[in-house]
Protein backbone atom coordinates (compact mmCIF):
# COMPACT_ATOMS: atom_id res chain seq x y z
CA UNK A 1 0.00 0.00 0.00
CA UNK A 2 2.91 2.32 0.79
CA UNK A 3 4.25 1.64 -2.66
CA UNK A 4 0.80 2.29 -4.09
CA UNK A 5 0.63 5.68 -2.35
CA UNK A 6 4.27 6.53 -3.04
CA UNK A 7 3.75 5.99 -6.76
CA UNK A 8 0.67 8.22 -6.74
CA UNK A 9 -1.58 5.22 -7.36
CA UNK A 10 -4.43 7.30 -6.02
CA UNK A 11 -4.32 9.22 -9.31
CA UNK A 12 -5.10 5.99 -11.18
CA UNK A 13 -8.21 5.60 -9.03
CA UNK A 14 -9.16 9.23 -9.69
CA UNK A 15 -8.71 8.70 -13.46
CA UNK A 16 -10.80 5.50 -13.23
CA UNK A 17 -13.52 7.38 -11.35
CA UNK A 18 -13.50 10.24 -13.87
CA UNK A 19 -13.69 7.77 -16.79
CA UNK A 20 -16.58 5.98 -15.09
CA UNK A 21 -18.41 9.26 -14.62
CA UNK A 22 -17.62 10.33 -18.21
CA UNK A 23 -18.97 7.07 -19.66
CA UNK A 24 -21.94 7.09 -17.33
CA UNK A 25 -22.87 10.71 -18.08
CA UNK A 26 -22.37 10.34 -21.83
CA UNK A 27 -24.46 7.12 -21.79
CA UNK A 28 -27.22 8.95 -19.91
CA UNK A 29 -27.23 11.91 -22.31
CA UNK A 30 -26.95 9.84 -25.48
CA UNK A 31 -30.28 8.09 -24.84
CA UNK A 32 -30.46 5.04 -27.06
CA UNK A 33 -27.33 6.01 -28.98
CA UNK A 34 -23.97 4.50 -28.05
CA UNK A 35 -21.60 6.88 -26.27
CA UNK A 36 -18.71 8.10 -28.45
CA UNK A 37 -16.05 5.96 -26.69
CA UNK A 38 -18.11 2.76 -26.96
CA UNK A 39 -18.94 3.63 -30.53
CA UNK A 40 -15.24 4.09 -31.39
CA UNK A 41 -14.09 0.91 -29.66
CA UNK A 42 -16.90 -1.22 -31.08
CA UNK A 43 -16.35 0.19 -34.56
CA UNK A 44 -12.67 -0.74 -34.34
CA UNK A 45 -13.41 -4.22 -32.99
CA UNK A 46 -16.25 -4.90 -35.45
CA UNK A 47 -13.97 -6.64 -38.01
CA UNK A 48 -12.63 -8.85 -35.19
CA UNK A 49 -16.17 -9.68 -34.07
CA UNK A 50 -17.23 -10.45 -37.64
CA UNK A 51 -14.14 -12.62 -38.19
CA UNK A 52 -14.54 -14.56 -34.95
CA UNK A 53 -18.26 -15.01 -35.60
CA UNK A 54 -17.53 -16.36 -39.09
CA UNK A 55 -14.86 -18.76 -37.79
CA UNK A 56 -17.17 -19.84 -34.96
CA UNK A 57 -20.03 -20.52 -37.39
CA UNK A 58 -17.70 -22.55 -39.62
CA UNK A 59 -16.46 -24.78 -36.79
CA UNK A 60 -19.97 -25.14 -35.41
CA UNK A 61 -21.04 -26.39 -38.84
CA UNK A 62 -18.11 -28.83 -39.09
CA UNK A 63 -18.70 -30.22 -35.58
CA UNK A 64 -22.40 -30.66 -36.29
CA UNK A 65 -21.59 -32.58 -39.46
CA UNK A 66 -19.06 -34.85 -37.76
CA UNK A 67 -20.75 -35.54 -34.44
CA UNK A 68 -24.41 -35.36 -35.34
CA UNK A 69 -24.52 -37.16 -38.70
CA UNK A 70 -27.18 -39.70 -37.64
CA UNK A 71 -29.30 -37.01 -36.10
CA UNK A 72 -28.97 -34.94 -39.28
CA UNK A 73 -30.12 -37.89 -41.41
CA UNK A 74 -33.21 -38.19 -39.22
CA UNK A 75 -33.72 -34.44 -39.49
CA UNK A 76 -33.50 -34.61 -43.29
CA UNK A 77 -36.13 -37.33 -43.41
CA UNK A 78 -38.35 -35.34 -41.02
CA UNK A 79 -37.83 -32.21 -43.09
CA UNK A 80 -38.76 -34.02 -46.31
CA UNK A 81 -42.00 -35.10 -44.71
CA UNK A 82 -42.58 -31.62 -43.36
CA UNK A 83 -41.78 -30.18 -46.78
CA UNK A 84 -44.47 -32.32 -48.39
CA UNK A 85 -46.98 -31.11 -45.82
CA UNK A 86 -45.92 -27.50 -46.35
CA UNK A 87 -46.28 -27.85 -50.12
CA UNK A 88 -49.84 -28.99 -49.55
CA UNK A 89 -50.43 -26.06 -47.22
CA UNK A 90 -48.98 -23.65 -49.79
CA UNK A 91 -51.39 -24.94 -52.42
CA UNK A 92 -54.26 -24.51 -50.01
CA UNK A 93 -53.10 -21.05 -48.92
CA UNK A 94 -52.72 -19.95 -52.53
CA UNK A 95 -56.34 -20.85 -53.09
CA UNK A 96 -57.23 -18.98 -49.91
CA UNK A 97 -55.20 -15.97 -51.04
CA UNK A 98 -56.98 -15.89 -54.38
CA UNK A 99 -60.30 -16.11 -52.60
CA UNK A 100 -59.20 -13.43 -50.17
CA UNK A 101 -58.11 -11.16 -53.01
CA UNK A 102 -61.45 -11.67 -54.70
CA UNK A 103 -63.33 -10.80 -51.52
CA UNK A 104 -61.20 -7.70 -51.00
CA UNK A 105 -61.95 -6.57 -54.50
CA UNK A 106 -65.61 -7.29 -54.00
CA UNK A 107 -65.76 -5.28 -50.82
CA UNK A 108 -63.57 -2.58 -52.30
CA UNK A 109 -61.18 -2.89 -49.41
CA UNK A 110 -57.99 -1.07 -49.79
CA UNK A 111 -54.73 -2.47 -48.69
CA UNK A 112 -54.22 -1.20 -45.15
CA UNK A 113 -50.71 -2.33 -44.76
CA UNK A 114 -47.70 -1.92 -46.98
CA UNK A 115 -44.56 -4.08 -46.89
CA UNK A 116 -42.04 -3.52 -44.17
CA UNK A 117 -38.73 -1.90 -45.07
CA UNK A 118 -36.04 -4.40 -44.06
CA UNK A 119 -32.31 -4.16 -43.41
CA UNK A 120 -30.52 -7.49 -43.22
CA UNK A 121 -27.78 -7.89 -40.60
CA UNK A 122 -25.51 -10.59 -39.20
CA UNK A 123 -25.41 -11.56 -35.54
CA UNK A 124 -21.84 -10.75 -34.48
CA UNK A 125 -21.99 -11.19 -30.70
CA UNK A 126 -24.24 -12.49 -27.97
CA UNK A 127 -24.81 -11.37 -24.41
CA UNK A 128 -21.83 -12.27 -22.27
CA UNK A 129 -23.49 -12.52 -18.87
CA UNK A 130 -26.45 -14.23 -17.27
CA UNK A 131 -28.34 -11.06 -16.39
CA UNK A 132 -29.49 -9.91 -19.81
CA UNK A 133 -30.28 -11.41 -23.19
CA UNK A 134 -28.88 -9.30 -25.99
CA UNK A 135 -27.47 -9.69 -29.48
CA UNK A 136 -25.07 -7.44 -31.37
CA UNK A 137 -25.75 -6.96 -35.08
CA UNK A 138 -23.40 -5.94 -37.88
CA UNK A 139 -25.35 -2.85 -39.02
CA UNK A 140 -26.00 0.49 -37.33
CA UNK A 141 -27.15 4.03 -37.92
CA UNK A 142 -25.20 4.20 -41.20
CA UNK A 143 -27.72 1.66 -42.54
CA UNK A 144 -30.68 3.61 -41.19
CA UNK A 145 -31.27 1.52 -38.09
CA UNK A 146 -32.77 3.34 -35.12
CA UNK A 147 -33.46 2.60 -31.49
CA UNK A 148 -36.80 0.82 -31.11
CA UNK A 149 -36.69 -0.93 -34.49
CA UNK A 150 -38.03 -4.48 -34.35
CA UNK A 151 -35.80 -7.34 -35.51
CA UNK A 152 -37.23 -10.47 -37.09
CA UNK A 153 -36.03 -13.69 -38.69
CA UNK A 154 -36.43 -14.41 -42.39
CA UNK A 155 -39.77 -16.04 -41.57
CA UNK A 156 -41.09 -12.98 -39.74
CA UNK A 157 -40.59 -14.28 -36.20
CA UNK A 158 -39.80 -11.55 -33.68
CA UNK A 159 -36.22 -11.66 -32.35
CA UNK A 160 -36.17 -8.46 -30.30
CA UNK A 161 -36.00 -4.68 -30.29
CA UNK A 162 -32.97 -2.50 -31.02
CA UNK A 163 -31.83 -0.83 -27.79
CA UNK A 164 -28.51 0.83 -28.69
CA UNK A 165 -27.28 2.04 -32.05
CA UNK A 166 -23.69 2.72 -33.07
CA UNK A 167 -22.62 3.84 -36.51
CA UNK A 168 -21.75 0.32 -37.71
CA UNK A 169 -23.38 -1.90 -35.13
CA UNK A 170 -26.46 -2.10 -33.00
CA UNK A 171 -27.50 -4.03 -29.94
CA UNK A 172 -30.91 -5.49 -29.40
CA UNK A 173 -32.77 -6.77 -26.38
CA UNK A 174 -34.17 -10.16 -27.32
CA UNK A 175 -37.80 -11.12 -26.68
CA UNK A 176 -36.82 -12.84 -23.42
CA UNK A 177 -34.75 -9.95 -21.98
CA UNK A 178 -36.22 -8.60 -18.71
CA UNK A 179 -36.37 -5.14 -20.31
CA UNK A 180 -38.71 -6.26 -23.11
CA UNK A 181 -42.24 -4.85 -23.04
CA UNK A 182 -44.72 -4.66 -25.92
CA UNK A 183 -48.35 -5.40 -26.70
CA UNK A 184 -49.29 -8.98 -27.53
CA UNK A 185 -52.41 -10.61 -28.87
CA UNK A 186 -53.68 -14.20 -28.92
CA UNK A 187 -54.71 -14.94 -32.49
CA UNK A 188 -57.39 -17.51 -31.56
CA UNK A 189 -59.37 -15.30 -29.17
CA UNK A 190 -58.03 -11.81 -29.92
CA UNK A 191 -57.30 -11.42 -26.20
CA UNK A 192 -54.67 -8.76 -25.67
CA UNK A 193 -52.00 -8.46 -23.01
CA UNK A 194 -48.52 -7.13 -22.46
CA UNK A 195 -45.55 -9.23 -23.54
CA UNK A 196 -42.78 -8.72 -21.03
CA UNK A 197 -39.45 -10.29 -20.25
CA UNK A 198 -39.09 -11.92 -16.87
CA UNK A 199 -35.75 -12.57 -15.18
CA UNK A 200 -36.50 -16.10 -13.96
CA UNK A 201 -38.25 -17.09 -17.21
CA UNK A 202 -35.29 -15.69 -19.18
CA UNK A 203 -33.12 -18.44 -17.69
CA UNK A 204 -35.53 -20.95 -19.31
CA UNK A 205 -35.67 -19.02 -22.60
CA UNK A 206 -39.28 -17.90 -22.14
CA UNK A 207 -41.28 -14.71 -21.56
CA UNK A 208 -44.69 -13.83 -20.15
CA UNK A 209 -47.92 -12.36 -21.48
CA UNK A 210 -49.23 -10.30 -18.56
CA UNK A 211 -52.27 -8.15 -17.79
CA UNK A 212 -54.62 -10.68 -19.35
CA UNK A 213 -58.30 -9.74 -19.24
CA UNK A 214 -60.40 -11.80 -16.80
CA UNK A 215 -62.54 -13.22 -19.58
CA UNK A 216 -59.57 -14.32 -21.71
CA UNK A 217 -59.65 -18.06 -22.39
CA UNK A 218 -56.19 -19.33 -23.23
CA UNK A 219 -55.00 -22.84 -23.91
CA UNK A 220 -51.53 -24.24 -24.36
CA UNK A 221 -50.42 -23.88 -27.96
CA UNK A 222 -52.25 -20.61 -28.64
CA UNK A 223 -50.21 -18.46 -30.99
CA UNK A 224 -49.09 -15.04 -29.74
CA UNK A 225 -48.42 -12.12 -32.07
CA UNK A 226 -47.47 -8.50 -31.46
CA UNK A 227 -50.61 -6.39 -31.18
CA UNK A 228 -49.14 -3.13 -32.46
CA UNK A 229 -51.05 -1.22 -29.78
CA UNK A 230 -49.54 2.16 -29.06
CA UNK A 231 -48.20 2.34 -32.62
CA UNK A 232 -44.64 1.89 -31.40
CA UNK A 233 -44.05 -1.60 -32.77
CA UNK A 234 -45.54 -3.29 -35.84
CA UNK A 235 -48.46 -5.64 -35.37
CA UNK A 236 -48.71 -9.22 -36.52
CA UNK A 237 -45.15 -10.36 -35.81
CA UNK A 238 -45.04 -13.93 -34.55
CA UNK A 239 -43.74 -14.12 -30.97
CA UNK A 240 -44.42 -17.68 -29.86
CA UNK A 241 -46.90 -20.06 -28.32
CA UNK A 242 -48.62 -20.16 -24.94
CA UNK A 243 -47.18 -22.86 -22.71
CA UNK A 244 -49.48 -22.41 -19.76
CA UNK A 245 -51.55 -19.90 -17.79
CA UNK A 246 -50.70 -19.07 -14.18
CA UNK A 247 -51.75 -16.75 -11.37
CA UNK A 248 -49.24 -14.23 -10.08
CA UNK A 249 -48.12 -14.21 -6.42
CA UNK A 250 -51.06 -12.03 -5.38
CA UNK A 251 -53.45 -14.54 -6.97
CA UNK A 252 -55.38 -11.62 -8.48
CA UNK A 253 -53.89 -11.52 -11.95
CA UNK A 254 -53.25 -14.16 -14.53
CA UNK A 255 -50.36 -14.36 -16.92
CA UNK A 256 -49.37 -16.75 -19.67
CA UNK A 257 -45.90 -18.18 -20.13
CA UNK A 258 -44.93 -17.88 -23.78
CA UNK A 259 -42.31 -20.03 -25.49
CA UNK A 260 -40.74 -17.88 -28.22
CA UNK A 261 -40.77 -19.16 -31.76
CA UNK A 262 -37.25 -17.91 -32.39
CA UNK A 263 -34.22 -20.04 -31.51
CA UNK A 264 -31.76 -17.44 -30.27
CA UNK A 265 -28.83 -19.88 -30.11
CA UNK A 266 -28.75 -20.61 -33.82
CA UNK A 267 -29.47 -17.16 -35.25
CA UNK A 268 -27.00 -16.05 -37.88
CA UNK A 269 -28.85 -13.54 -40.06
CA UNK A 270 -31.76 -11.33 -39.03
CA UNK A 271 -33.80 -8.49 -40.54
CA UNK A 272 -34.35 -5.11 -38.93
CA UNK A 273 -37.73 -3.50 -39.70
CA UNK A 274 -36.79 0.11 -40.35
CA UNK A 275 -40.24 1.32 -41.40
CA UNK A 276 -43.77 0.05 -41.13
CA UNK A 277 -47.25 1.31 -41.64
CA UNK A 278 -49.41 1.66 -38.60
CA UNK A 279 -52.52 -0.51 -38.71
CA UNK A 280 -55.56 1.50 -37.79
Amino acid sequence: MKEFLRRNGIWLLVIALLLSILIGVSSAFMGGNADPLSNLVTTITTPVRNGVAAVGDFFQGVSRYVFRYGEMEQQISDLEEENAQLQQQIRESQEALQENELLRNLLDLRERRRDFVFESAKVTARSNDNWRSTLTLSKGSESGIQEGNCVVTSTGVLVGVVSTVGSHYCELDTVIDPGMEMGGIITRTNAVGVLEGDFSLMQEGKLRLAYLPDEAQLVAGDEVLTSGRGDVYPSGLVVGQVEGVFNDVSGMNRYAVVVPEVNLDTLVEVFVIKEFDIVE
Binding site: L12, L13, A16, L19, S38, T45, S127, N130, S200
Partner: protein, 170 residues
Protein backbone atom coordinates in the same frame (compact mmCIF):
# COMPACT_ATOMS: atom_id res chain seq x y z
CA UNK B 1 12.84 -0.45 -15.23
CA UNK B 2 13.05 1.80 -18.25
CA UNK B 3 9.97 3.07 -20.01
CA UNK B 4 10.79 0.71 -22.86
CA UNK B 5 10.83 -2.22 -20.44
CA UNK B 6 7.50 -1.13 -19.01
CA UNK B 7 5.95 -0.92 -22.47
CA UNK B 8 7.42 -4.33 -23.30
CA UNK B 9 6.04 -5.85 -20.10
CA UNK B 10 2.51 -4.45 -20.44
CA UNK B 11 2.42 -5.34 -24.11
CA UNK B 12 2.79 -8.99 -23.09
CA UNK B 13 0.16 -8.64 -20.37
CA UNK B 14 -2.18 -7.15 -22.99
CA UNK B 15 -1.39 -10.11 -25.29
CA UNK B 16 -2.25 -12.45 -22.43
CA UNK B 17 -5.56 -10.70 -22.00
CA UNK B 18 -6.58 -11.23 -25.64
CA UNK B 19 -7.31 -15.02 -25.50
CA UNK B 20 -9.19 -14.48 -22.24
CA UNK B 21 -11.29 -11.71 -23.77
CA UNK B 22 -11.97 -13.79 -26.91
CA UNK B 23 -13.06 -16.74 -24.74
CA UNK B 24 -15.24 -14.46 -22.63
CA UNK B 25 -16.83 -12.46 -25.42
CA UNK B 26 -17.16 -14.93 -28.28
CA UNK B 27 -16.81 -18.52 -27.16
CA UNK B 28 -18.17 -19.16 -23.67
CA UNK B 29 -21.37 -17.17 -24.24
CA UNK B 30 -22.15 -19.49 -27.15
CA UNK B 31 -21.37 -22.69 -25.30
CA UNK B 32 -22.51 -21.57 -21.80
CA UNK B 33 -21.23 -24.63 -19.87
CA UNK B 34 -24.03 -25.94 -17.58
CA UNK B 35 -26.20 -23.10 -18.90
CA UNK B 36 -24.10 -20.45 -17.18
CA UNK B 37 -21.88 -17.87 -18.87
CA UNK B 38 -18.71 -17.43 -16.78
CA UNK B 39 -16.98 -14.07 -16.17
CA UNK B 40 -13.27 -14.20 -17.00
CA UNK B 41 -12.25 -10.54 -16.95
CA UNK B 42 -12.42 -10.13 -13.12
CA UNK B 43 -10.22 -13.23 -12.87
CA UNK B 44 -7.64 -11.56 -15.12
CA UNK B 45 -7.61 -8.46 -12.91
CA UNK B 46 -7.22 -10.57 -9.76
CA UNK B 47 -4.40 -12.67 -11.29
CA UNK B 48 -2.35 -9.66 -12.47
CA UNK B 49 -2.96 -7.76 -9.21
CA UNK B 50 -1.82 -10.73 -7.12
CA UNK B 51 1.35 -11.04 -9.19
CA UNK B 52 2.18 -7.36 -9.71
CA UNK B 53 0.85 -5.60 -6.61
CA UNK B 54 -1.50 -2.72 -5.86
CA UNK B 55 -0.19 -0.04 -8.21
CA UNK B 56 0.02 -2.22 -11.32
CA UNK B 57 -3.20 -3.98 -10.31
CA UNK B 58 -5.02 -0.65 -10.28
CA UNK B 59 -3.76 0.26 -13.74
CA UNK B 60 -4.56 -3.16 -15.18
CA UNK B 61 -8.00 -3.05 -13.51
CA UNK B 62 -8.65 0.33 -15.09
CA UNK B 63 -7.73 -1.01 -18.54
CA UNK B 64 -9.84 -4.16 -18.13
CA UNK B 65 -12.75 -2.08 -16.82
CA UNK B 66 -12.54 0.14 -19.89
CA UNK B 67 -12.45 -2.90 -22.19
CA UNK B 68 -15.45 -4.39 -20.38
CA UNK B 69 -17.47 -1.18 -20.48
CA UNK B 70 -16.74 -0.24 -24.06
CA UNK B 71 -16.89 -3.55 -25.84
CA UNK B 72 -19.83 -5.20 -24.10
CA UNK B 73 -23.48 -4.20 -24.14
CA UNK B 74 -25.33 -2.46 -21.35
CA UNK B 75 -22.50 -0.79 -19.42
CA UNK B 76 -22.97 2.36 -17.35
CA UNK B 77 -19.34 3.24 -16.59
CA UNK B 78 -19.07 1.85 -13.06
CA UNK B 79 -16.93 -1.10 -14.04
CA UNK B 80 -13.94 1.12 -14.87
CA UNK B 81 -13.74 2.37 -11.30
CA UNK B 82 -14.88 -0.96 -9.88
CA UNK B 83 -12.18 -2.97 -11.63
CA UNK B 84 -9.49 -0.40 -10.78
CA UNK B 85 -10.58 -0.56 -7.13
CA UNK B 86 -10.61 -4.36 -7.25
CA UNK B 87 -7.08 -4.36 -8.74
CA UNK B 88 -5.85 -2.07 -5.99
CA UNK B 89 -7.50 -4.07 -3.19
CA UNK B 90 -6.33 -7.45 -4.51
CA UNK B 91 -2.82 -6.13 -5.10
CA UNK B 92 -2.60 -4.66 -1.60
CA UNK B 93 -4.00 -7.85 -0.06
CA UNK B 94 -1.48 -10.02 -1.89
CA UNK B 95 1.39 -7.69 -0.88
CA UNK B 96 0.55 -7.30 2.80
CA UNK B 97 -1.86 -10.05 3.88
CA UNK B 98 -1.67 -12.95 1.48
CA UNK B 99 1.11 -14.11 -0.79
CA UNK B 100 1.77 -14.22 -4.52
CA UNK B 101 0.40 -17.67 -5.26
CA UNK B 102 -2.52 -19.46 -6.88
CA UNK B 103 -4.55 -19.81 -3.69
CA UNK B 104 -4.38 -16.07 -3.03
CA UNK B 105 -5.54 -15.53 -6.58
CA UNK B 106 -8.41 -18.00 -6.12
CA UNK B 107 -9.48 -16.36 -2.88
CA UNK B 108 -9.26 -12.83 -4.28
CA UNK B 109 -11.11 -13.89 -7.47
CA UNK B 110 -13.91 -15.32 -5.33
CA UNK B 111 -14.15 -12.07 -3.38
CA UNK B 112 -14.15 -9.90 -6.55
CA UNK B 113 -16.73 -12.10 -8.30
CA UNK B 114 -18.83 -12.24 -5.13
CA UNK B 115 -18.73 -8.46 -4.79
CA UNK B 116 -19.67 -7.97 -8.44
CA UNK B 117 -22.62 -10.34 -8.30
CA UNK B 118 -23.56 -9.04 -4.85
CA UNK B 119 -23.91 -5.57 -6.34
CA UNK B 120 -25.87 -6.96 -9.29
CA UNK B 121 -28.23 -8.77 -6.92
CA UNK B 122 -28.69 -5.60 -4.85
CA UNK B 123 -29.43 -3.59 -7.99
CA UNK B 124 -31.86 -6.25 -9.22
CA UNK B 125 -33.62 -6.26 -5.84
CA UNK B 126 -33.77 -2.46 -5.89
CA UNK B 127 -35.46 -2.36 -9.30
CA UNK B 128 -37.59 -5.38 -8.27
CA UNK B 129 -36.34 -7.53 -11.11
CA UNK B 130 -37.11 -10.70 -9.20
CA UNK B 131 -36.98 -12.29 -5.76
CA UNK B 132 -33.72 -12.95 -3.89
CA UNK B 133 -33.86 -16.74 -4.30
CA UNK B 134 -34.25 -16.45 -8.08
CA UNK B 135 -31.36 -13.95 -8.28
CA UNK B 136 -29.14 -16.16 -6.15
CA UNK B 137 -29.93 -19.14 -8.37
CA UNK B 138 -28.19 -17.18 -11.13
CA UNK B 139 -25.46 -15.45 -9.13
CA UNK B 140 -24.10 -18.41 -7.14
CA UNK B 141 -23.53 -20.77 -10.12
CA UNK B 142 -22.09 -17.83 -12.06
CA UNK B 143 -19.47 -17.19 -9.36
CA UNK B 144 -18.67 -20.88 -8.84
CA UNK B 145 -18.37 -21.72 -12.54
CA UNK B 146 -16.32 -18.60 -13.18
CA UNK B 147 -13.90 -19.68 -10.44
CA UNK B 148 -13.31 -22.94 -12.33
CA UNK B 149 -11.47 -20.84 -14.93
CA UNK B 150 -9.05 -19.35 -12.36
CA UNK B 151 -6.30 -21.96 -12.95
CA UNK B 152 -6.19 -21.23 -16.70
CA UNK B 153 -6.21 -17.45 -16.25
CA UNK B 154 -3.63 -17.59 -13.46
CA UNK B 155 -1.35 -19.87 -15.51
CA UNK B 156 -1.43 -17.50 -18.49
CA UNK B 157 -0.44 -14.48 -16.40
CA UNK B 158 2.07 -16.39 -14.25
CA UNK B 159 3.76 -17.51 -17.47
CA UNK B 160 4.05 -13.86 -18.54
CA UNK B 161 5.07 -12.73 -15.03
CA UNK B 162 7.91 -15.25 -14.89
CA UNK B 163 9.36 -13.87 -18.10
CA UNK B 164 8.69 -10.14 -18.04
CA UNK B 165 6.80 -9.45 -14.77
CA UNK B 166 7.85 -7.43 -11.74
CA UNK B 167 11.25 -5.87 -12.36
CA UNK B 168 12.69 -8.75 -14.37
CA UNK B 169 13.47 -6.62 -17.38
CA UNK B 170 15.41 -4.08 -15.35
Amino acid sequence: MTTRDQVHKWFFYALGLIPIWVLDAFVLNRIAPFGVIPMLLPLAVAAVAVLEGAYAGTGFGLAVGLLWELSYAGGFGGLVFGMALAGMAVGAASQYVLSQNFFSCLLCSAVVLGALDGLRVLRALFIRLDTLDVLLRVAVPEVLLSLCWTPLVYLIFRFIFRRVGGTRLA
